[in-house]
């Protein structure tokens, strides 16, 4: 996380990753002068709900990425790049954020649960796609890749799916995790393929006339029944003789290869925002922490050239989420440390191994069908993917709040429906998943919505004694703050940062605070921005934290819109820098 704010003195200590003192010194020196000027005038982000990045473009060239490179570079070489540290220290926040501190809809993200309430049942039905038609499925090819077996099938309607299977000693684990996580990511707003759990008899699988097998070194040959039998021999049938699989509908459009979590795709003219500066990728760290999606990586993403001649960006492969990540040093490391984690390794090394990481001592798997997906050792602030991801590293408090807002929007009922979507054969597995998801969701809410003032949907209201600012307090609504002691501290300045009134503290649980003094008339010197807005008042509102301090503020900007003489709310932003 990155952060540089005068408000930091009232917040928790951030978990800033260890930079070498020298690098830090240079970064601070390089940014010091700029921090002063950054606070000089209030600005408001664009009032757009849609980022129009779906303009027709020529077909981009397919690209390839190297996972080995991503691991090597992100784990070992990137920290050596001093320029990167300076850029990171100068990070002013995500770029694709609108006036209401939301991510506008785009080819990357569509606001669903973040903007409106979603019915619990809808979470299961809103994913576009359909299950494979029953009847014989023609095997197009067997893929000898990944660590779970998979085949491409064509159902009777001619639709192609990738059919993935669970490992025989961990039945249901990967398929359930993939189904649940797909639904979570979709409801959150990401583009995902249609993934569903299917059951079939061995007789349902037939060889297609053109079916082929491609081995590890990509040699292709016609597939035989022996290949099919060999595949089935690697799977564990259910007691009724059927097999369980995860059918993933092939994406429609021309696949262009993965997108990477940094930079842009140069031949996609719509892709102008560096990916590490996209909030939906930075804030995804919090969502990923919820479902333990440690396998977030370039190769699990896909760009698709779709109807309309633009590039749509998908997240793929959630088969290693929750407790399904059997990675290097796994499974207990997963989510706690990177594969190569310099800090953790250093601590163990200098203590000659006497220091035991908490997960080394307390990590345990209760159900093999679930794997290592737990709540007691989950720390929302410290969760890590398998190797550093630049977008995640650039996540700041604003992004984290955005992610937490989404995670905590999943109601208990929704979580229950999600757990049921895993279609576990034993009810206790469903209950376990539900319990862990709820506990982790609440851990995220308790941490991030306490750390950052969780107020939304501001509006001005008139009352007898003057005016007040009304809002929704997500922490109160979602049970992460105590109504009895809820307080807000308000500081008001004019557009140039000059104090307008003394700081006020209001104790209330009704989602409203009295407004301090503010300029009402249009100021002659206020130059409207390109949307005709003239900010004139900046309110910094902080909620109280459980530890007695004040959370990072939400900045609410008031001003005039167009020629209007009425003071309005122009926008807000959480945890401004």
């Amino acid at each position: 996380m990155t952060r540089s704010s005068a408000w930091e003195l009232s917040g928790n200590k951030t978990g800033a990753r260890g930079l070498m003192p020298l690098i830090l010194l240079i970064c601070v020196a390089a940014t010091a002068g700029r921090m002063v000027s950054a606070e000089s005038r209030v600005t408001v982000r664009p009032p757009l709900c849609v980022d129009h990045d779906q303009q027709p473009i020529p077909l981009p060239k397919a690209s390839e990425v190297s996972e080995l490179y991503a691991i090597l570079y992100n784990s070992w070489f990137r920290p050596l790049n001093l320029e990167g540290h300076v850029v990171r220290a100068n990070d002013k926040g995500s770029l694709n954020v609108n006036a209401w501190d939301e991510v506008p809809d785009s080819s990357w993200f569509t606001n669903r649960i973040a903007r409106q309430s979603v019915a619990a049942g809808e979470i299961l039905t809103s994913l576009e796609g359909k299950n494979p038609e029953p009847g014989p499925w023609k095997i197009v090819r067997i893929r000898d890749e990944g660590y779970t077996p998979k085949v491409d099938i064509r159902d009777s309607s001619g639709t192609i799916y990738v059919l993935k299977f669970d490992l025989p000693d961990k039945p249901e684990r990967n398929s359930a995790a993939e189904r649940i996580s797909t639904l979570v990511m979709h409801a959150a707003g990401y583009n995902v393929p249609y993934n569903t759990i299917v059951y079939f008899q061995p007789r349902d699988l037939e060889l297609d006339k053109d079916s082929y097998y491609r081995d590890q070194i990509k040699r292709r040959r016609p597939m035989t029944h022996a290949d099919l039998e060999s595949l089935l021999a690697r799977l564990k049938p259910r007691p009724d003789g059927t097999y369980r699989g995860m059918a993933s509908l092939m994406l429609s459009g021309k696949t262009l290869g993965p997108f990477v979590y940094t930079g842009t795709r140069k031949d996609d003219l719509n892709d102008i925002i560096p990916h590490e500066l996209r909030r939906e990728l930075r804030g995804m760290r919090v969502i990923a922490s919820w479902i333990n999606h440690a396998d977030v990586k370039d190769v699990n993403a896909m760009d698709v050239y779709v109807t309309g001649n633009y590039v749509k960006h998908y997240m793929l492969d959630f088969g290693s989420t929750m407790g399904s990540g059997d990675f290097i040093h796994g499974p207990y490391r997963v989510g706690h440390e990177y594969i190569y984690d310099g800090d953790a390794t250093f601590h163990s090394l200098i203590t000659l191994g006497f220091y035991r990481r908490p997960w080394e001592v307390g990590g345990k798997i209760i159900y093999p069908e679930v794997g290592y997906y737990q709540a007691p050792l989950f720390d929302p602030a410290k969760w890590k993917p398998n190797y550093p991801n630049l977008a995640f590293l650039r996540m700041d408090d604003s992004d984290a709040y955005w992610g937490a807002k989404i995670v905590t929007a999943y109601s208990n009922q929704m979580v229950r429906r999600l757990a049921e979507a895993g279609d576990y054969s034993r009810p206790e597995l469903t209950r376990h998943i539900e319990d862990v998801m709820l506990s982790r969701r609440d851990a995220i809410g308790n941490y991030w919505l306490d750390r950052i003032t969780p107020l939304e949907e501001f509006r001005l209201a008139r009352r007898d004694s003057g005016a007040e600012l009304r809002f929704r307090d997500l922490a109160l609504e979602r049970g992460y703050a105590d109504e009895g002691v809820r307080s807000y501290r308000v500081r008001s300045t004019d557009a140039d940062g000059k104090e307008l009134a003394p700081v006020t503290v209001t104790r209330t649980s009704h989602g409203a605070v009295g407004l301090p003094s503010a300029p009402s008339q249009r100021q002659g010197f206020a130059v409207p921005d390109r949307y005709g807005r003239s900010p004139s008042v900046r309110l910094l509102i902080q909620s109280n934290r459980r530890d007695g301090g004040w959370a990072f503020p939400v900045e609410v900007v008031l001003g005039h819109n167009g020629e209007s003489s009425t003071l309005e709310i122009l926008g807000w932003y959480h945890a401004p820098k």
């Binding site: 100068n90 040093h329 509006r459 209201a461 003057g466």
Partner: protein
């Protein structure tokens, strides 16, 4: 100014038009959605290239260049499934008895390549051939071995030829000088038979008989002085030495996993007897012990190793050729010293090593080595050790070490050792120089 603002406030608030929030927001949103982007390219550029980073962009240009090259290379590597192909062909060759090895013939022998081929010769017996050569230092080796296991016993016939053109010699004893660094070449050919019986799963006894033909001469590397020139009258230099060896050994191997409690013991004794007109006759005694104590389960372990070699001339033995003396220095002994830095009749060596698993295939280690060479037991001084400490890294595969690096500091400064592959010590030492660099 502030007072004016305050006074105007009440007026403003009474004039305030309070719209339902959601509707107001929607109005604003819809009115503003005119096909615009959320950010302009200028804003992106400013965010992506803050002024403070501009000078560094030039400084780090080479870094980006190397990085870009590495990315292109690895993308191509993965695109063409090179890793899978390598594994496939390695396994393909292995199943047919063939293997390719990268590395030289031991520590300090340079970069080389080699290959081996093993063929079944009936029952459980097999015949293997190994050939290696280093390109950079000119080392050569060719080995033949026939192995025939029968029940708990094993019978081995072996033959080997080695050309070792750049061996180091600094003189004898602890007082030898670094500045006296010389090089010599050694040609050694030997053949022998070995019989071994496993009394227990972890206990083996064996005996070995060898015939060896040895010859030392000046090194072709003229950048260094010849050992014969700097140390006139060096026993064995420029001479053919023919000898036979008969020895016995016992091994108790209690090592389990790399990071598990365990230990091993080795003891051996052999008699070297010169052939022809040679009066050379001496005993060699050797012992090794190792103990491992895990610190963190499956992650780190403390390893304590000790080894000793004694040379005892028998009767009126002729002078022992200098290259047959035990020697220390280098990756498998004293890592803060140059390879083969100290020669002496007897050596005593202790090593304490902390091994830490960074990754199943990647190990870091901290070490402390202490050793001494001495002529007689009475010369062994508890105050006269050569000591060094340092750290290292080891890249391993599931079968063996792929690459290792050690950095050591000693009274003679620091040195580093790089080696590819690994090679177990011979079951019985004796008069053969053998590139061992496995711990």
């Amino acid at each position: 100014m502030c007072r004016i603002f305050l006074a105007a406030l009440l007026h403003a608030l009474t004039a305030l038009t309070v719209l339902p929030h959601a509707a107001a927001q929607e109005q604003e949103k819809e009115a503003s959605d005119q096909g615009e982007r959320i950010v302009t390219e200028a804003e992106v550029h400013k965010a992506e290239h803050p002024a403070a980073s501009v000078p560094l962009r030039f400084v780090f240009y080479p870094f980006h260049l190397v990085n870009s090259g590495m990315e292109s290379g690895l993308v191509s590597f993965e695109k063409h499934n090179m890793r899978e192909r390598l594994n496939y062909w390695t396994e393909y060759l292995r199943q047919r008895g063939a293997a390719v090895s990268i590395g030289g013939l031991g520590e300090g022998t340079g970069i080389g390549l080699g290959g081996s081929y093993t063929m079944k010769t009936g029952g459980k017996s097999d015949l293997s051939f190994l050939a290696r050569a280093s390109f950079t230092r000119g080392y050569e080796e060719f080995d033949v071995r026939w192995t025939n296991p029968v029940g708990r016993t094993q019978f081995v016939l072996e033959g080997s030829y080695q050309w070792r053109p750049q061996e180091n010699f600094y003189g004898f004893g602890m007082e030898s000088l670094l500045s006296d660094h010389t090089k010599f070449a050694l040609r050694q050919t030997w053949t022998g038979a070995r019989g071994e019986v496993a009394l227990h799963r972890r206990l083996r006894l064996g005996t070995e008989y060898r015939l060896a033909w040895l010859y030392s001469t000046s090194s072709p590397n003229t950048a260094y002085a010849s050992s014969g020139a700097v140390f006139p009258g060096l026993p064995g230099f420029g001479e053919n030495v023919h000898l036979q060896t008969l020895g016995f050994y016992a091994d108790a191997d209690g090592l389990k996993g790399e990071y598990e409690t365990g230990g091993l013991l080795h003891a051996g004794a052999s008699l070297q007897d010169g052939l022809g007109e040679s009066t050379l006759q001496y005993f060699s005694y050797e012992g090794r012990a190792e103990g491992r104590l895990p610190i963190a389960a499956e992650r780190s372990v403390l390893v304590l190793q000790g080894s000793l070699e004694f040379t005892r001339p028998r009767g009126e033995s002729g002078a022992i050729p200098f290259y047959l003396y035990p020697h220390v220095g280098g990756e498998s002994t004293l890592r803060g010293f140059k390879l083969d830095r100290f020669y002496g009749k007897n050596i005593f060596l202790v090593t304490l090593e902390y091994r830490y698993k960074i990754h199943p295939d990647f190990q870091a280690l901290l070490f402390f080595d202490e050793g001494q060479v001495f002529s007689r037991t009475s010369d062994l001084s508890w105050l006269n050790w050569q000591r060094n400490y340092g750290f290292g890294f080891k890249v391993m595969s599931s079968r063996s070490t792929i690459f290792r690096m050690d950095f050591g500091w000693s009274s003679e400064g620091y040195t580093y050792h790089l080696s590819w592959g690994d090679r177990l010590p011979r079951v019985l030492g004796g008069p053969i120089r053998y590139g061992t660099y496995r711990r």
